[in-house]
């Protein structure tokens, strides 16, 4: 059933390509149905899950001479992220309901991207995982280049090249691992059990980790993210920040940390105070948290604020991964889910609700518009999304950040305090954006009579908002729903090497 999330997405692409040019309405409906079905399959798969086990969905031999299999499977972590994809996809389509220009191509690229993402989360063969990972790059390029806004061609190319460079690094590591392990299999489970030589792991780990972390927005390789997010159309930003960045973090956990856990051991010597790759990446993650938040604080463009906030939040994910602590790791996965939902909502408000109507994202210009009167729904949505993003208890971000901080206390106490600082700067930039965009200090004089009123918030937008906010609230109040999936997954055989290294 879970494999159908992938197939239905690509089937949707084919159906869309066959639709007549110019019929935007049909394209939307097909896309929506496909996304709904995908989410239903994902939910079904999640409900059927038995805790702690890795359930194989499909396993067939693909290229026997190289031992490559078409192996789809899911454990709790995969299920969490598949659910995220389903939700984000559905919300994205709801918020793209107004696309008219070349609509069917838009939705075709969109569904292709979703299909690729589902594939990455469900692959348990490294070759297959890489195939899906790369499949996701090209639709991104086109969506941004054709339907984007500010500097779209530059932003799209930068994103594509950065992603491709990152995946090139990953491929080097994968090929090396494949060959060193005898060239007989690319199965994730088998390779995670293989005793790679210590010296090999010492360079393979950072190579693969950085390759994936580029996509996850690790500082200082994050510069594609703000440019790309701002250039992208709303639905693409929602997917990019919400799901695609998580692909990188997922890869870090699933591939780099599972296959080469000894790469995180101490080097035996210290350079600038760092004694292992773990030290390096955790500090980079912490820098990312604070840097992203601080830069967000001074932005003039509303969308850039959210773009940099994504970099900051992903820093939490990467910090959580590096803590190698049961709370930190499960917090990292939960943060992947939570940030995906919340960032999606933030981009939706900024892009669809505000920019599509006011045609400006400049905070100074918005300040003159008194938007809380004109778009009260948007004001309330952004307020709630903003406080969720701040990490207010009651929303999913709080539980996730809480766990990451516990893990950080365990592993890197100083970094925990720095992360706390990052949360505070987060409060500051969210408040600033909220106030400048929606609640100006001096209310503007009412606009002259003949100014066209802003169009009201449509039903699909409301539905999308309710969907995303509801999920954030649900998981915030009952995080056990997802934690029950996530935490037992760390006990599976896949993470055995990781457990040995970290004493989990």
């Amino acid at each position: 059933m879970l494999a159908w999330t992938i197939y239905i997405s690509f089937l949707g692409v084919v159906v869309l390509m066959l639709l007549p040019q110019g019929d935007a309405r049909a394209a939307r409906i097909v896309a929506m149905l496909t996304a709904c079905l995908g989410f239903v399959f994902a939910l079904g798969g999640a409900l059927q899950a038995k805790l702690g086990e890795i359930r194989t969905v499909t396993q067939v031999s693909w290229i026997p001479s190289l031992g490559i299999e078409y192996h789809l499977a899911a454990d709790g972590i995969s299920l969490t992220l598949v659910l995220l994809t389903g939700l984000a996809a559905l919300a994205g389509i709801l918020f793209s309901w107004n696309i008219e220009h070349r609509a069917k191509e838009f939705f075709a690229f969109y569904l292709a991207l979703i299909g690729g993402v589902y594939g990455v989360f469900l692959s348990f063969d490294l070759f297959l995982l890489f195939v899906f990972y790369e499949i996701a790059i090209i639709p991104k390029y086109f969506i941004i280049a054709i339907w984007g806004s500010t500097q779209r061609e530059y932003g799209a190319m930068k994103l594509a090249l950065y992603s491709f460079a990152g995946s090139a690094m990953v491929l080097i590591g994968l090929i090396a691992a494949f060959v060193v392990a005898g060239g007989k299999t690319m199965s994730l489970l088998e390779l995670s059990q293989f005793p790679f030589p210590h010296s090999f792991q010492m360079w393979a780990f950072p190579m693969v980790f950085v390759g994936f972390a580029i996509l996850a927005g690790l500082w200082p390789f994050h510069t594609w993210a703000p440019t790309g997010h701002v250039a992208a159309p709303t639905a693409a930003s929602m997917l990019l920040a919400g799901v695609v960045m998580k692909l990188g973090a997922y890869g870090c956990l699933r591939v780099a940390m599972s296959l080469f856990p000894q790469g995180m051991d101490a080097w035996g010597f210290r350079v600038l105070g760092f004694g292992s790759w773990r030290d390096v990446f955790s500090v980079l993650a912490a820098i990312g948290i604070v840097y992203g938040a601080t830069v967000a604080l001074v932005q003039k463009d509303f969308k850039f604020v959210i773009g940099y906030s994504s970099v900051s939040h992903m820093g939490f994910v990467l910090l959580g991964l590096m803590t190698l602590d049961q709370f930190g790791l499960s917090g990292a996965v939960l943060q992947m889910f939570s940030h995906g939902i919340i960032a999606g909502l933030l981009f939706a408000v900024v892009g669809r609700m505000v920019y599509d109507r006011t045609h400006t994202r400049d905070l100074d210009a918005l300040q003159k518009m008194n938007l809380n009167k004109l778009l009260p729904f948007a004001a309330v949505s952004f307020t709630l999304a903003g406080v969720a993003s701040m990490g207010l208890p009651g929303f999913s971000g709080f539980v996730a950040e809480l766990q990451v901080l516990i893990g950080a206390w365990h592993a890197f106490p100083t970094l925990a305090v720095i992360a706390g600082l990052g949360i505070l700067v987060g409060v500051a930039y969210t408040l600033r954006a909220l106030q400048m965009a929606f609640f100006p200090e001096t209310p503007a004089p009412p606009p002259p009579e003949h100014t066209p009123k802003l169009e009201p918030i449509s039903l699909p937008e409301r539905l999308g908002t309710v969907l995303l906010l509801g999920t954030a609230l649900l998981i915030g109040l009952f995080p056990g729903l997802l934690l029950d999936l996530i935490v037992p997954s760390f006990k599976s055989s896949l993470f055995e090497g990781l457990r040995k290294v970290s004493g989990l």
Partner: protein, 518 residues
């Protein structure tokens, strides 16, 4: 445990009310107002029921409810009420309707205003009944949002920076507190206040901290103090203690009247409540080690705020600093209790007296300060936004009822015997003096300065030559008189018969003191 989950009902009642009002939409202002008032009276009713059902002789928690919530993180839905909680819940039940009545005339987006007040009330109820850090913190933070918007959207000219400062300041404290408690969780895998209090009492908390968190060769004591500092910061900002107070006068001055009543009457009590519920039971040793600096912080708070109040020219700011001053007495009492001085004849009695005084002071100040701000609100509204100390004069001639009633409230704030303000302060000083003599002695200065500035208000605003501008100032209408009368009656009642409250809280106090004996 009662059959009905009263505390849950109490907390969720205003929440539901708020959601209903939001759903009503912006047109139905009058309906919104009436619904809000109805719900707040409903909450008051539940509070009274709780009061009636409370068994004063029993010292521990009553109306306890416990459900599992997030087992992996040791988070349980654990609520309960003892004397302290009951007092706070009662105070909330009383002050919120007052605040709603004071805000009756708000027109712009009225429905949102009233909904936000109810959300705030739910947050307060949640904070005062929660016994597990996770959901206590949830309500603690959740109460910030309505307060922020209440100041931001309906406040005075400088409301943007006031609201932002208020929010960010409190958040800094909250984040520090969060970090501290997460460290505690890492060491003990516990979030429950009761269990943590046990661990604090028998010293196992400190040893757990040093066992589990061996950081960079910090000594056990330093580590415990570091964690304590984090938690302390969270509450110190809320009370507030000097030097973390700078957000308060600004926020109180800019907020609309009803909101200021809530801020001073209830939200400031969250801070002191936190000291009593969280810091004192869980970190007794750390507080003992730091007793002297903490006492002096309290003294500085008392004296400085009183002097600052005296120096203000804006009535609202004067009362704001006066709030800080009155809460300073509460903290004096709290810190004095930590003492193990043998100067006292029977330390337990003194400590009980001090703590009783603290509880009473919290309740009384909440009532009195809220009423005072209400009166200033009347003045501001009639005067067209004017509330400077020197702008008025001789109002007694034109609005005698108003002056009379406000005078009562002012005297209560001063601590005149016969009114409710006296008893609390008296008990605190009586209990603290033997325990922390010098500190208490210096704090008397605060009393003196308070008396001076309150009398100054009386003189400048009520007496003196009548400013011609105000010759047409209308007096309190009948409705308004009816609205403030219950509060004033309560002030008298408690002043004359404090046993009504003392009887209920005494056993809780006794148990607390027992736990804290050294």
């Amino acid at each position: 445990m009662n059959a009905l989950p009263l505390l849950t009902i109490l907390t969720f009642l205003p929440l539901i009310g708020g959601l209903l009002i939001v759903g009503l939409g912006p047109e139905q202002k009058q309906l919104a107002r009436k619904t809000a008032l109805a719900f707040s009276f409903g909450a008051l009713a539940v509070a009274l029921v709780l009061w009636a059902l409370f068994r004063p002789s029993q010292g521990g928690l009553q109306f306890e409810e416990q459900y599992g919530w997030i087992p992996r993180l040791a988070v349980r839905y654990h609520v309960g009420l003892d004397g302290l909680g009951l007092l706070m819940v009662g105070l909330t039940g009383i002050v919120v309707p007052m605040a709603l009545l004071a805000s009756w005339k708000i027109e712009e987006r009225a429905h949102l205003y009233f909904a936000l007040v109810l959300f705030l009330q739910a947050g307060l109820f949640g904070t005062f009944t929660a016994l597990n850090f996770f959901h206590w913190f949830l309500f603690w933070e959740l109460s910030l949002i309505p307060a922020f918007f209440l100041i931001r959207l309906w406040g005075g000219p400088l409301r943007a920076s006031a609201a932002t400062q208020f929010f960010v300041y409190t958040m800094v404290g909250s984040v520090a507190m969060l970090l501290a408690f997460l460290a505690i969780f890492l060491a003990t895998h516990e979030f429950d206040f009761i269990k943590l209090a046990e661990m604090g009492r028998d010293g196992s908390l400190i040893s757990a901290l040093s066992d589990q968190l061996g950081w960079r060769d910090l000594t056990t004591r330093r580590l415990a103090l570091l964690i304590f500092a984090g938690a302390f910061l969270g509450f110190a900002v809320k009370v507030p203690l000097i030097p973390f107070h700078t957000w308060l006068p600004f926020a109180y001055a800019e907020a609309p009247t009803g909101t200021t009543m809530l801020l001073t009457g209830l939200m400031s009590k969250m801070g002191v409540y936190g000291f009593l519920r969280v810091l004192l039971p869980i970190f007794p040793s750390e507080m003992r080690w730091l007793m002297t600096p903490l006492l002096w912080l309290a003294v500085i708070t008392i004296i400085f705020s009183a002097c600052a109040a005296f120096a203000q020219k804006d009535l609202k700011r004067m009362l704001a600093y006066s709030s800080i001053n009155h809460l300073g007495y509460c903290l004096l009492g709290v810190f004095a209790v930590m003492s193990s001085s043998t100067m006292a004849a029977s330390p337990l009695t003194e400590k009980s007296a001090a703590l009783n005084g603290v509880f009473l002071q919290m309740f009384n100040h909440g009532l009195t300060a809220a009423t005072l701000f209400w009166f200033v609100g009347f003045l501001e509204e009639r005067g067209g936004g004017v509330r400077g100390l020197n702008e008025f004069g001789g109002l007694r001639k034109v609005a005698p009822v108003f002056c009379g009633l406000m005078g009562i409230a002012l005297f209560s704030s001063l601590g005149l015997p016969g009114l409710n303000g006296f008893i609390g302060e008296f008990l605190i000083f009586k209990g603290a003096f033997p325990l922390a003599t010098w500190a208490t002695a210096f704090s008397v200065l605060g009393l003196l300065v308070t008396a001076i500035f309150i009398l100054t208000i009386l003189q400048r605003v009520f007496n003196g030559p009548l400013n011609d501008k105000w010759s047409k100032l209308p007096d309190l209408t009948v409705t308004e008189r009816a609205m403030v009368l219950p509060a004033l009656a309560l002030m008298f009642a408690l002043g004359v018969y404090p046993q009504a409250v003392l009887g209920t809280i005494n056993s809780t106090v006794a148990q607390m003191v027992q736990y804290l004996k050294f």
